[in-house]
């Protein structure tokens, strides 16, 4: 199982984690390419149904980061 590449949907807040991810990119820090980023204007915008929808569409994990 160790060599499979999971699909992870990442909901990132525009003001916090998205900017953090951006900075990580600018500073050339390496991070896994499994994350599919969805930028939201606030992590409070995430509805529980988004997360279930993500699983239904076949992703293996969800990360909500604010």
């Amino acid at each position: 199982m160790a060599d499979y590449e999971p699909k992870i949907v990442a909901f990132l807040c525009n003001w916090c984690a998205y900017a953090g991810a951006d900075l990580a990119g600018v500073s050339r820090l390496q991070y896994p390419s499994n994350l599919r980023t969805i930028r939201v204007m606030c992590s409070g915008r995430i509805d529980p149904s988004f997360i279930i929808k993500a699983f239904q569409e076949g992703c293996d994990g969800v990360l909500v980061s604010g």
Binding site: P6, Y18, V64
Partner: protein, 148 residues
């Protein structure tokens, strides 16, 4: 599922979180969404259910300012209440989906959903009262149900 707080200045923290989450999901193996279709649909129906959304939305008010009668609820008590309400709605949705998938007797529903027999018949009675499920009569001396 992971929830993490990352400030815009914490690039390294974001990288750590991304690594940790990816590792943890890798170790859990792929999610077999097609096998969990019924459970996912039931969960989706549950989070979109009106009463559930009211309960979630009112939590802060009721635990910090109090309900309409001025009673302030303890957070743990409210959460326990919310959990059991969520579980009940989820189980009811599972039962409805099982019936729709042609598992119509109590025993079949129990087998399909993994819920114990008592729980299924208790919730079926509830579903009947709220006109969501209908008793269709006996078949091979087993009661069968249909979703309205």
């Amino acid at each position: 599922m992971h929830l993490a707080w990352v400030s815009s200045a914490e690039a390294q923290h974001f990288v750590d979180v991304a690594n940790k989450v990816t590792e943890s999901i890798k170790s859990q193996g792929p999610l077999k969404a097609d096998e969990l279709q019924m459970q996912l649909s039931a969960a989706e129906m549950t989070v979109n259910e009106e009463a559930v959304r009211w309960l979630v939305g009112k939590e802060i008010t009721i635990t910090s300012k109090g309900d309409v009668y001025g009673r302030k609820w303890d957070v743990n008590r409210y959460e326990a209440f919310l959990d059991s309400a969520l579980e009940k709605v989820y189980h009811k949705n599972l039962i409805c989906l099982a019936i729709k998938a042609d598992f119509t007797s109590v025993r079949e529903i129990s087998k399909k959903t993994g819920l114990i027999l008592q729980r299924v018949s208790y919730l079926l009675a509830d579903l009947e009262k709220t006109n969501m499920v209908e008793f269709m009569g006996m078949q091979d001396s087993k009661p069968v149900f249909a979703v309205i």
